[in-house]
Amino acid sequence: MGNFLLPLMIGARNLAFPKLNLISWYLNMAGGLLTLAAVLAGGIDTGWTFYVPYSTVFSNTFVTLAVLGVFVSGFSTIATGVNFIATVHYLRVPGMTWFRLPLFVWSMYTTSLIFVLATPVLALTLVLVIAERSFNLSIFDPARGGDPILFQHLFWFYSHPAVYIMILPAMGVISEVITCYARRRIFGYSFMVYALVAIAVIGFFTWGHHMFTSGMSPFAALVFSFLSFIVAVPSAIKVFNWTATLYRGQIGFESSMLYALGFLGLFTMGGLTGLFLASVPIDVHVQDTYFVVAHFHYIMVDASVSAYFAGLHFWWPKVTGRMYPESWARFAALLMFFGFNLTFFPQFIAGYLGMPRRYYTYPPEFQVWNVLSSSGAAVLAVAYLMPLGYLTWSLFYGTRALNDPWNASGLEWRTTSPPPRENFFGNPEVLGSPYDYHPKSAAPAEDDRIAEQGALT
């Protein structure tokens, strides 16, 4: 979505380095193929985190191949990050100042900063794993003086910001969707921007909270716990601002909005459980249980995936030029909300009661929770497949979309659906601040959705 929307939203023709973009795509494919090859060859048994010394000294699976695949696709990430940063700095249309950028652009920009700063450390860590396996070095082997916890430090220095990579664009999408369907300006634009930057920056300081039970020193655990509490603050600011945006709005319940509202509630839940995990004593109890699994699924699935679907539906007319059937979409959104909660809420309980993760079986006392969770997963599967069905259908049979079916603000709606090759006919003009749905400090405006295209409640 960033590749498509970023230039559109700032009025540019293309990204700053189109050839780099293409190289990035090929690298991603190459890395993916390498990793796929490792999986097909027999897979790895170290888990995605490649903890040492198992992955470097003892594992007999295709660790080197898989690690190489990840290493290659890391370069793809860095290339895209560089591309996005350069685009936002240099290709904004005149009049599009930094504080007039849509929040989605800000979120992609901060995400790109994380790409560029965190991925090299992962690259080095992976090189160290490959070197240690291939050349029998002893960097992480405690029997020969190495330090396995150092691996975890290096690994999580990337992997924690990686989860912020996943959530920041989602937050950007939600800002766009909520403002459009509530017909309100975003509440506190500057603080939303500062919060995005703060999450990106402070997120880099919190990686040790994945290692509380690793044998790390208690002093370091204290430091990381404190920093992890702090990183919750900007996220909370964003949630408050979104809620305030809804106030006095003309809230419509289109499918994208349903996803966005689901995001608000469930992201809050996921975020609050993250605070539980930031507290060292609680984390020691629930580390590596399903509590943690439920926490990050609430954030990943509910937040990132919901926001992804919200964005998919919101910009589907822009990208494809077709409208999708609204009632199917709403039904899928509601089904997803229900299925998601049924799947993951029991996992909180199971985890708290002690069910561990990464075991292939479980003791009988957890059966109820597991059954509930699995049935929820079936519902969720249906809810995910439905968009596949109706969106594909809409490609062939959907109503043709107007340039601006939602009557939204933002430069991407000022061009055709789908946009021409150069993105705009002529040069777009930036007339005012983003989310210009009503004059400042005004009462809610008359509802101006377009009846045939966007649905009215």
Binding site: H89, L117, V121, D147, I149, L150, H153, L154, F157, F204, F205, W207, G208, M216, S217, P218, F219, A220, V223, F224
Partner: protein, 100 residues
């Protein structure tokens, strides 16, 4: 990046050679310090000399002194993040060493 005729080749060589001699001087200093400085803070001296050399290369060979603010900000950010990586990891390593 404009073609200027303001300074000729001689001036470029002069600046470069002065800097080069300075760098070689620092290299010699670090070599001497390694062999003759027997204090426990000797490694710090060597790394300090290395950092000075690196700063000179960055500023004057790589023209960071003349670059626009955005480039300098990018360089500073890199250093800042590296500092974070070092500082927070060392809270763990040093406190574990102190505890053993």
């Amino acid at each position: 990046m404009r073609a200027r005729l303001r300074t000729n080749a001689g001036a470029i060589w002069l600046r470069g050679l002065v800097l080069w001699l300075l760098l070689l001087g620092l290299l010699t200093a670090s070599l001497l310090a390694a062999y003759h400085l027997k204090a426990p803070w000797a490694p710090a001296v060597n790394f300090g000399l290395a950092a000075t050399q690196a700063a000179l290369v960055a500023l004057l060979f790589m023209r960071l002194d003349r670059a626009n603010d955005l480039v300098r900000l990018a360089a500073v950010c890199g250093l800042f993040w590296l500092a974070i990586l070092f500082a927070l990891t060392l809270t763990d390593t040093l406190s574990r060493l102190a505890n053993t």
